[in-house]
Amino acid sequence: MTDSTPHRRTRRGGRAPLGRVMAQVAMVMNLDKCIGCHTCSVTCKQTWTNRAGTEYVWFNNVETRPGLGYPRGHEDQEKWKGGWRLKHGRLVPRTGGRARRLARLFANPELPTLDDYYQPWTYDYETLTTAPLGDDLPTARPRSLIDGADTEITWGPNWDDDLGGGPGPLAADPVLAQLEKVGERVRLEYEQAFMFYLPRICEHCLNPSCVAVCPSGALYKRIEDGIVLVDQDRCRGWRMCVSGCPYKKVYFNHRTGKAEKCTLCYPRIEAGEPTVCSETCVGRLRYLGIMLYDADRVGEAASVTDERELYEAQLDCFLDPHDPEVARAADKSGIPHDWVTAARRSPVRALISDYRVALPLHPEYRTMPMVWYVPPLSPIVEALSRDGHDGEDPACLFGAIDSLRIPLEYLAGLFTAGDTAPVEAALCRLAAMRSYMRRINLGEERDPRLAEAVGMDAARMEEMYRLLALAKYEERYVIPTSYTGEVPRDPGEAGCGLEGEGGPGMYEDPADAFHALSPLPGQAAAQTSGTAGTAAGSASSPTSGRLNLLNWNGKGRPAGLFPRRRGGEQA
């Protein structure tokens, strides 16, 4: 490279200028494996929202699709005004710009009420034990958790689970309604019904609209790992984020008057552990890993005119960690090397960018979501086997993907703003994998043509099978431990309160004491600020004059690297 600005390889083999590299912890869910057991929802709730004020709050929920979702019909952005829209080519929150938001501080017209979620309730268990002896069996009547009055249960967190809501609620599915608008008549008769489960958490978007509409600036995206969080001390309860989020994944704690949302279990992620929902997922369908992306391209990608190009535009934001220039730029942005290594091994990156089987949820909201989904092949396989066909025969399967338009259109309505081509491609790859692996399982010869037909080769096909079907724990979750992507500490600034002289944080690091560095060129500042004490004491230590090569940034020639020449001058 002769010019100084870094470039990256594009997906089409060209080169494009590279902006600021940022890292994001992203998730992919393999919908074919979700059995709708709600273990993720329950463990999440037990961990985060089993408190008064958050009774109705489900950071993680599992929806049956087609269905209404949670809160009811939340995908209808004509009504709720979540996400972004293009106004004269510029991105504006759909709820309106800054002035409009401030003008509506005192009553947010697009805020869902509890009835759109459900009225949380408990049962009057006490009557069961305190009822006087009589002929009638005492009953525990439902009681509202909001005002304590007797209540009738008319809706719940998963009322339309397994199509339990019947054709009524089903027909109100905003994605189905969208399909009908473009002339797809969806019949909801039993023999044509299809369904699958859609677990949802916060999308931790690259272009989060909840952050954009928060007047207090309490919501923020973390630079290091892209997790979107609410600063509870800065939140003033203006509730704009609730309506700003098109996925309705920011909730209002009605006791504390503060917004709360999925934290991607950041304390666990920081320690290199998967989120609670992932850890406890029975179907092992969740994948966690690092995505590197070009932060300077996000705005441009989110404002692509055609909604159907948003998926491709977002793919173009992602960077290839194998590209040495990307790795170098990542290092310059303060991303540690083990994060770049983790990005290379990232299962999420493999499913999104390599195999191209994972798709974003509702890219048309223009928030650039970062929880992606492998679309389910099961509606199609089921339809085939119901008709007496072989659900794993490649010819049948490919034909069916093409002919079963309704499930395909529906999936496209969820994942690609209605463009069926990427969904079809992903499903074909999954179908090819089934057929390819079935031949192996039946002891037949490997058929690389099956892989080539979907633009892959035999080796990658088997890798994808390993990742999707075997889904080993350490391959599903590749999470480096956290870093504070930080500059050397400012010399004038006192550190954490515990680190003061004699404070409990003021222990001597044995490793530091051992290596007792002599200052390197360009590292003098870090030396004087951070470990001034050690540096001063090093002269008398037995290891004085030694060099810790781990701290050498590769530039210049540090003192102590070579023995002194005679005459005192350094080599």
């Binding site: 002035a99 005192f106 009055a149 995206k221 309860g237 009605h254 310059k332 400012d490 600034e493």
Partner: protein
């Protein structure tokens, strides 16, 4: 009698001011988590959408009217050739309308608070004190405004306003307030009660008006590490809006 007046108009204002300032500082220091609107819109939206904006926007006008009436001395408007008649007509019509809107909004909100079970259940002890007080302050103020409609009535700019400004000159003009009619005295007294309660109630949310939002970039980035260190990052600086 004089002692009472000195206590009420010469001493009490400073006590209230002290409680107001120290209380707010204390609350901000120890209970930043409690600085919130404690919105009840999740329970009930229809009435709030009428009452909330009506009350708050009315209140803004009322506050602006108070600022003009209390802080701008008479000689300034005279210099600007605003006639006495026009000034008071304006104060009566605009001020009265704003006051009525505020009271109407508060009425809707109070009705909602009493009649919607969920909202009522979420009412705190400080709410129970502050809401009636707020209503009383408003009604006393409206009475005072209405009484100024009568010809030859009390000119508050020669009395109450003089007293108010004298407070900040640390030379309280007790006599000016002593001469004021009862509605004005009651209004001022109740208002002082409101200011004393301010730091300890949900009224603190008034200090958090998010005007900074107008100048902020949409997306806020923050570092895991200390915010101050973020600002010190050289080379590729944090996005604007990063704290």
């Amino acid at each position: 009698m004089t002692h009472v007046h000195i206590a009420l108009w010469g001493v009490l204002p400073y006590l209230v001011l002290g409680v107001f300032l120290c209380g707010t500082a204390w609350r901000y220091r120890y209970d930043r988590f409690g600085f919130t609107t404690r919105s009840s819109q999740l329970y009930e939206s229809r009435l709030l959408r009428v009452g909330g904006p009506l009350f708050h926007y009315g209140l803004f006008l009322v506050i602006a009217g108070h600022a003009v009436g209390l802080l701008i001395p008479e000689w300034v408007t005279e210099r600007l050739r605003v006639s006495e008649h026009f000034y008071h007509l304006n104060a009566l019509v605009v001020g009265g309308a704003a006051g009525l809107a505020t009271v109407a909004g508060l009425g809707v909100l109070l009705w909602r608070r009493l009649r919607v079970r969920a909202v009522r259940a979420a009412t705190s002890r400080s709410d129970r004190l502050v809401h009636p007080l707020l209503l009383a302050v408003l009604l006393a103020g409206l009475t005072a405004t209405a009484s100024s409609a009568a010809s030859g009535s009390y000119d508050y700019r020669m009395g109450v306003s003089v007293w108010f400004r004298s407070l900040f000159e640390l030379e309280p003009d007790v006599a000016a307030m002593r001469a004021a009619p009862l509605p004005y005295q009651v209004h001022a007294l109740l208002a002082m009660g409101l200011f004393a309660l301010w730091p300890f109630s949900r009224l603190v949310h008034a200090f958090t008006v998010p005007l900074g939002y107008l100048a902020r970039p949409y997306i806020v980035y923050r570092s895991r590490g200390r915010a101050v260190r973020q600002a010190a990052r050289d080379g590729s600086p944090a996005r604007p809006g990063t704290r």
